[in-house]
């Protein structure tokens, strides 16, 4: 570790400034990102050697998983329980729930399989809010422009335009399901929603519910899914492989039922992957704010089946992860804190970046401070200070009522935010790239749709605050609607259950691995991130 300033000294330096000055910057944003953002590190990118995105850049750790062997073989399917459905949704976060609900409302029979439990996802942890351009001074066009700029002009314009246009309808849908949003003025005009400022946005556009928007959203979505008669819910059933027809289209998936320790083969007319991102891979050695299940499972399976990917070397490191105490390292302090006025200070007590610049810029600026020896060290943990004094002034409502989740976190850290700053360090937060989709969530593989963090293109190479919660619902609903429509069309052709698929694509993949000289003993998806790997129980091999 490079040199750093002690926490005690940094607190003294902070106290010496009545109002901390913002240091004039000598580095352009482009240069700052190129020198300090983790995506630009020398060891952060390699080229994919096989598959439909061969030759494209990808993070090396992710490339290892993408170019690996399957967990199962043909004989695993022999004794497996067979089921069928119109639409199979894989993943129990916000995108999966939205897709399942919309498909069910569209008249399809739906099966939703979740690795952990419905709702155990990044959605429930995404507390900052959701973007929707509702102000009279705002418009979907401005929303589009901000996100396009924030993503370095790399977003797919069509997808991004849909994201911005869908926003108002998404908020209405959420309210119809029973989700609350904060009002700024409850007395007039049926109330006007409260807008918060997000980093990189031209005006306040974040709608939220306190500082636990994702919790409020997910508890409503979970309850709705659980009570929806058209959805069959399979908790603790991770997907271990997709199924294919002879023409290469998706035929459903193979699940592993943890409770009964056996495989389930689900034949589906349409399959929707909503398995999220890959924060638990701890890319570039960073801590992560992500949920336990974020291990890139769906990405690996989609790629093996032939889906195209994009921007697999672009990740978001959220600026304000907890750095101390070590026990809570990587946990997220919502951008809502900076939106409400929290400042970032280096060890000299200086502000070194506009706290509401886009996330990649703020993160790069923080890493620069740490690299230059102006970071702060506390009990062996390195970071910069998050100063909450502006939120705790005498004219402010108590932090516990303003931002209850932040107060709760400060309590867990043993920090009194009115007196002490928190120590923060960037934390791996979001996968900007993913599976290439069209406007209805359709991947390049027929029969396979994707929604949520697993997809790429919507946010370009950097996402703005509040656009993930919007993305999962806007595109979750689109994918669900499209899947129901296509399943209906297939049912109109034949009323028989969907045809059974196989894993011919796995054998093709194994040949490619061998031809490219890649290690076929590496298996993926990971399913669970700990050191201990899950052993899949195999009655067939046990009998042999």
């Amino acid at each position: 570790m490079s040199t750093a300033i002690s926490y005690q000294q940094a607190c003294l330096n902070r106290a010496s400034h009545a109002t901390s000055p913002l240091r004039a910057d000598d580095l352009s944003r482009a240069a700052l990102l190129a020198q300090y953002h983790p995506d630009h590190a020398a060891d952060a990118s390699t080229l994919l050697q096989i598959g439909s995105s061969r030759g494209q850049p990808c993070h090396p750790r992710l490339a290892e998983l993408l170019q690996s062997n399957a967990l199962i073989d043909g004989f695993d399917l022999a004794g497996a329980e067979q089921r069928s459905t119109d639409v199979l949704v894989l993943g129990g976060g916000g995108a999966g729930a939205a897709a399942a609900l919309t498909a069910a409302r569209g008249g399809a029979t739906v099966m939703l399989a979740s690795k952990l439990r419905l709702g155990d996802s990044n959605t429930v942890m995404a507390e900052g809010g959701i973007q929707a351009a509702l102000a009279a001074s705002d418009s979907p066009q401005q929303h589009f422009d901000d996100a396009m700029r924030g993503g370095h002009n790399c977003a797919d314009p069509q997808l991004l335009a849909q994201l911005a246009s869908d926003a108002a309808g998404v908020i209405r849908w959420l309210i119809e399901l029973g989700m609350h949003f904060d009002l700024s003025d409850a007395s007039s005009d049926g109330g006007k929603l409260r807008y918060k400022q997000a980093g990189g946005c031209s005006q306040p556009r974040i709608l939220s519910y306190r500082d636990y928007t994702g919790l409020e959203m997910m508890r409503v979505l979970r309850e709705t899914v659980e009570l929806e008669p058209g959805i069959q819910l399979l908790n603790r059933c991770p997907v271990v492989e997709l199924l294919s027809h002879e023409d290469g289209s998706c035929a459903g998936a193979v699940l592993y039922d943890l409770e009964y320790q056996r495989f389930i083969v689900v034949s589906a007319r349409q399959t929707i992957l909503a398995t999220g991102g890959c924060g638990r891979l701890h890319l570039q050695g960073f801590p992560t704010s992500n949920h336990y299940g974020a291990t890139a499972d769906g990405l690996v399976l989609a790629y093996r089946l032939g889906a195209q990917l994009r921007d697999m070397d672009a990740f978001q490191y959220h600026p304000t992860g907890v750095a101390w105490p070590q026990r809570l390292r990587g946990g997220l302090i919502s951008e809502a804190a900076r939106s409400a006025g929290a400042m970032l200070l280096n060890g000299l007590g200086e502000r070194f970046v506009d706290e509401l610049a886009p996330r990649d810029v703020v993160t790069a600026a923080m890493l620069r401070e740490c690299a230059a020896g102006r970071g702060i060290e506390r009990d062996g943990q390195l970071g910069v200070l998050l100063d909450l004094r502006r939120l705790c002034g005498p004219d402010q409502p108590a932090l516990a009522s303003q931002l209850p989740a932040l107060q709760h976190l400060a309590d867990k850290c043993g920090i009194d935010p009115t007196r002490e700053p928190m120590l923060v360090y960037p934390t791996l937060h979001y996968q900007n790239g993913g599976v290439v989709i069209d406007s209805q969530g359709q991947s390049s593989v027929p029969g396979l749709l994707c929604a949520g963090e697993i997809t790429g293109g919507i946010h370009g190479r950097n996402r703005l605050m509040g656009n993930a919660l919007l993305d999962i619902l806007a595109f979750g609903r689109r994918a669900g609607r499209q899947a129901a429509r296509l399943a209906q069309a297939a049912r109109n052709k034949s009323s028989l259950p969907p045809l059974r698929g196989g894993i011919e694509h796995v054998y093709r993949w194994q040949r490619q691995l061998a031809l490219a000289g890649l290690d076929a003993s590496q298996q993926a998806p990971l399913l669970y991130p700990g050191q201990a790997r899950l052993t899949l129980h195999r009655p067939a091999s046990a009998r042999a």
């Binding site: 439990r117 155990d120 066009q141 309210i175 029973g178 929603l193 994702g214 409503v220 009570l227 052993t535």
Partner: protein, 215 residues
């Protein structure tokens, strides 16, 4: 810190680092953790619910493993999730008519009136919500006040598990909160924007940014 302590998780004794949470200790164990785990410390998913008994104490308390720091001699038992036998289904559009709120609540959660005031739900709640009071208010028809009490609920279902009358208090709370939003939340700015878009206004020019980045 080289000092290690021991705790027992689901009957297995494990070495733990002081300062770690119960959940972190469990992750260092020999088995892949596939359940009762979620947000890993944020305390919002309710997955890692467990019963905890400290060394030398008789009382067992319910806690979230991700938020509870280990102590030497602690005994921990994780609580699995089960789908309850009887769930009264309702759909969001059933809640639209606020005039029917009370009879609908009684129909959907008939057990709400059976509260024995045993306080088990209050003791079980890791968020400190006065659950029993919420149920009492609900059964008296003071629905907004009841709903407000469940504002910070993380749906860990510990109160549901604790209730001898199968009231499912957290689901009652969520039902009331949802009904409130469904019936009352009609923000003027949202209505205006939806109306504009329904008229075909405010479409997006997807090429405007190209012109700007060139200039």
């Amino acid at each position: 810190m080289s000092e290690t302590i021991c705790i027992s998780i689901d009957g297995k004794v494990m070495a733990a680092q002081p300062g770690d949470s119960i959940l972190q200790t469990r992750l260092h164990g020999p088995d892949a953790v596939t359940a009762n785990i979620g947000c890993m410390g944020q305390g919002v998913c309710g997955s890692c619910r467990c019963l905890v008994r400290k060394a030398g104490e008789r009382e067992t308390v319910s806690r979230l493993a991700c938020e509870t720091v280990v102590e030497d001699g602690m005994q921990v038992s994780f609580i699995d999730y089960y789908q309850p036998d009887h769930v009264h289904r309702y759909r969001p559009h059933d809640l639209r008519d606020g005039w029917q709120a009370l009879p609908q609540l009684q129909q959907t959660f008939p057990e709400t009136a059976h509260c024995r005031h045993c306080g088990g739900c209050d003791r079980a709640c890791p968020r400190g919500i006065p659950v029993q009071q919420g149920i009492a208010l609900a059964s008296r028809g003071e629905l907004p006040a009841a709903a407000a009490l469940f504002d910070a609920c993380i749906m860990c279902n510990l109160c549901t598990l604790a209730c001898p009358e199968n009231i499912r208090p957290n689901h009652v709370g969520l039902y009331l909160r949802r009904a409130q939003a469904i019936q009352n939340l009609r923000p003027g700015d949202l209505l205006r924007r939806l109306d504009q878009q329904a008229r075909g206004q405010l479409s997006i020019d997807t090429t405007a940014h190209l012109a700007r980045s060139e200039s």
